[in-house]
Subunit: 339 residues, 4 copies
Amino acid sequence: MIRAAIVGGSGYTGGELARIVCRHPKVTLEAMTSRQHPGVKISKVHPFLQGFVDLRFDEKIGGAADCDLVFVATPYGASMDIIPDLLERGIRVIDLSGDYRLGDAGVYRKWYGIEHKDLGNLATAVYGIPELFRSEISKAPLVANPGCYPTCAVLSLAPLFAEGLAEGKVIVDAKSGTSGAGMEPTKSTHHPNCGANVIPYKVGSHRHTPEIEMALGKLSGGQTEVVFTPHIVPIVRGIFCTSYATLSRELEHDDLYSIYQKFYAGSRFVRVNSIPSIPSVVGSNFCEIGYEFAGNGNVVVMGAVDNLVKGGAGQAVQNANVMFGIDEATGLDFPGLGV
Amino acid sequence: MIRAAIVGGSGYTGGELARIVCRHPKVTLEAMTSRQHPGVKISKVHPFLQGFVDLRFDEKIGGAADCDLVFVATPYGASMDIIPDLLERGIRVIDLSGDYRLGDAGVYRKWYGIEHKDLGNLATAVYGIPELFRSEISKAPLVANPGCYPTCAVLSLAPLFAEGLAEGKVIVDAKSGTSGAGMEPTKSTHHPNCGANVIPYKVGSHRHTPEIEMALGKLSGGQTEVVFTPHIVPIVRGIFCTSYATLSRELEHDDLYSIYQKFYAGSRFVRVNSIPSIPSVVGSNFCEIGYEFAGNGNVVVMGAVDNLVKGGAGQAVQNANVMFGIDEATGLDFPGLGV
Amino acid sequence: MIRAAIVGGSGYTGGELARIVCRHPKVTLEAMTSRQHPGVKISKVHPFLQGFVDLRFDEKIGGAADCDLVFVATPYGASMDIIPDLLERGIRVIDLSGDYRLGDAGVYRKWYGIEHKDLGNLATAVYGIPELFRSEISKAPLVANPGCYPTCAVLSLAPLFAEGLAEGKVIVDAKSGTSGAGMEPTKSTHHPNCGANVIPYKVGSHRHTPEIEMALGKLSGGQTEVVFTPHIVPIVRGIFCTSYATLSRELEHDDLYSIYQKFYAGSRFVRVNSIPSIPSVVGSNFCEIGYEFAGNGNVVVMGAVDNLVKGGAGQAVQNANVMFGIDEATGLDFPGLGV
Amino acid sequence: MIRAAIVGGSGYTGGELARIVCRHPKVTLEAMTSRQHPGVKISKVHPFLQGFVDLRFDEKIGGAADCDLVFVATPYGASMDIIPDLLERGIRVIDLSGDYRLGDAGVYRKWYGIEHKDLGNLATAVYGIPELFRSEISKAPLVANPGCYPTCAVLSLAPLFAEGLAEGKVIVDAKSGTSGAGMEPTKSTHHPNCGANVIPYKVGSHRHTPEIEMALGKLSGGQTEVVFTPHIVPIVRGIFCTSYATLSRELEHDDLYSIYQKFYAGSRFVRVNSIPSIPSVVGSNFCEIGYEFAGNGNVVVMGAVDNLVKGGAGQAVQNANVMFGIDEATGLDFPGLGV
């Protein structure tokens, strides 16, 4: 059994990690920390875990000391204080914050507004989308789990970029459920404001922009310009990304379908359909992808994921499976709710 | 023209009052106060009022000094500090807090947890549901504007109690939109919590319970026991009350319909239908009422109002119209959105 | 392995049954029928089952011939045409329609408007709430799976009635997600009508009324009068029942808590909390229950279930587990989504 | 008084027209037709109009015979059968279908799939966005009221195109409330499908694409390529358009603000804010517009309207006001609900 701990477990991502890990046949949840709720029963903060997780929150990660694997679900800036020590002790780490995603200290400073303190691990951390970077993940001591939006956008655009089929900039227009905003009540998630509304935010300045650019760049081998706009829509779980790319050569609709199918052959959690559906993926680790042509080489690519599962905790567990050499679907092989 | 001011205008009720008053043909909005936003343009806090209200918030009610009418939309406890002085200056007052609704200092203490400081006005304030107490309102210097839930519950049950047709206790099961919770983000109105949920609150202990009992008692001339449970449902505007009463004598469905129709004849804002509809009343001052028999003398009475209009600001303006002797529908005579 | 088939599998209940059964470690899904979609891939009608269920719909239940267990998810009226033959062949049957719930042909005729054709099995069918009737279910060839509303209402009221603590009538005010209305678009589930609305329906005349009365009567040994009002609220999954009962003797809040805890000791899927939460149970087979006192012996009992799981397919699988003598949580032991 | 009729009044647009016209101080509603509900009281089909509209639906437009103005709210294809005769009789017509918007019979055939039968009027009909084409509308016997999406997209992009500030193609990613889908229940508007979902439709092939291209072309004097994707989001009223354009020259954020302000100076119903808000415009004829820069000359322009008011009936009334030479805000000068 793989002995795992979750650091920073009181938020939605922490709860979701526990929800998945507690049923995982090859992972045991040994400890979970929360600076906000030390000593409190985890199932008090996450009541849906009553009967599944019987631990209390630790204040510090001491409890994680003899684990094989630590999921770090603290906010960005805090992760890089915790992770070097864990790695030194030989523990495999999956970081769910943004601290290790961008690979470059300058880009990190520009978008996160602070200095990176762990340049060595920043340089070697592996970006964790298993469908795209499975082999590197399998050998990595530290995996940077992607953001929810980049997971959805990059998976839906990957075949175009990996096969050199896209040219020029890409527009990513994303619609997210409110759980992506976290557990703390805010003006944007106040129901009278968002319950019958569509709320864009950080337009032209969201941190997931360079992350999408970096990931697509890894695939294409070049630079990609991304214009990214996230919106909050009145659903709780789910992200839908509508992306606009330009084909670099003429293609039939079916040809592209074959390219997508081939690209994702063997990837349990990616489904290429005509139109992706959020309810089909909610509660699951699946990503649905579809596309339509819009004349003149314009292609509209669509993707849907559950932001807390494939866009967060589920992908983290999938990465863990790959890192420990077990079937990547272990503990994740259940369908979405459908309705 | 009636010169009006709004004290405590930065919340949803204040914004709604301004939205209605700014179009009222016989009332002018002279001033609006906010301790939170003194000096700020009102249309900055309530952006939908751009082009309609060009004032700035005053800090104090000095600006209300030479008004004919003041709407007090401060929280309970604060209203009774402000109102005595206004009344002494001969200004008519409509209080939208709970301070003057219950009529009795002991009941107030029990349910609001504080001592009442203005016993004289508490005793003489008139409870402001115009359809039921029009004549007293027309002579009152101070009207206590009802709570949103009591407006809906009492209007839908009134004919039964006024005509002596109900016996025993009444159950009021209410479902409210989230705007009733006010402008401040809270755990209950955080979209991930409430967006796909039904959240009961203050079960068995909500302050509107004695208010409903009092109002029904005024109509029946006796005492009424009310069990009241409010729930938040994921809509923004609107209240739906399902009330359960027992008939004191046998009645045909049509007989009761006639009784309701006759009771509300001449009441512009009450519609007796089979099943009330929130969209039919949203944005308007209408209350829709319906009922069904459930065997053994059980009658299920239903009502729907827009909590911010008939359940708040609209009814306040209707009360003002009655107090100043003008048609009670003035400035309020528009239909709901319907969809 | 238990070989199972689903008859009438193209609706939401059928899809949910397949979603659960396909992961059940001791049940295999052998066949699924649909008169609407014979020959069509099941995962075409239920796209979230892609990769999990690779069968096609059969037109007739021939495929179910050599099964050990059949879930019948056809509409009421159709089930009683199918079930006698299955039982004669020695197959265990769980009927998810209303055909076998009420036990009495006269009551059935009154509420369903048609004559019952299978009086023998109607008389012996066992009502399938395992927490209440586990022992009878374990021996039954035919289990009548309860309605979604009765499951929620009866579980939350059961300790009061089984222990003789309630007197007089009970009011059940239920709020349901729209998936309870089924897959066919209707006026009530048209989003512009229901998306910002609370819609009561069949007030005083819903078929689940006698079902709740019957189940509570089984527990109390007497007759119970139930007034039941279902409402559609704008959520997809989940039922919340607020029930109003009168205590037959004085009780402290904690005493009743002990009674509830004791009553449900050993029942994996019932949680007694202060306030039940729909998100805590969505996607799971759990029922959450809570209550508050409202003075004068009034008690407000609340319950929450996922209407498609504990209120439908999940409970059916739980019944199957009990019928086949395996742990009742097998294949169902996962937590709700929580958010 | 202007005597008006509505042809095809049983849908949402018809109801909304009646809702606005019934309060218009200079227009009287003389007749309303419906082939579906001839002889039925209008307030039976549109219950929110009880007390405001006391007419019954006519089957045919005979009743419109002696009107000054007819709003035609029939489906496309039907309008062009009705309108020539009305125009011949000297009646001013506002067509809310798509029949007269595109100006060109070939483009019409391509996108609507049928032959146009009224080429003369097609050529002379004026496209009715008053803020952009006020002068032509004032002289027009026939105005083609724009689609809901084009109203929102074109108003938000107009200053860029009229001032020659945009180059290359434009992406319009639109999110619409479900009322835009009309009164008939469909799979897409079935709440279990759309209530927690984002549903794109007619990707790359929606009829409003050429309409947006045509309108932007009128402003720029050239050709514009538009990629347009509409999505249904789970709100009832409101459209939010996020559009992606490329600036043809460098501009400061404030410069563009001045350009927008100047362009819409004197336009009562357009507000240039930072981020548009659907609740601010719901129930009103306002359009809110905002924009942000996204680096490299990319500009993200956002717009919000109530699809049934500024995106439909409200704009039709505004057009009528311009056609009859009265203040364009007459009967429309009320704020949005705000919350």
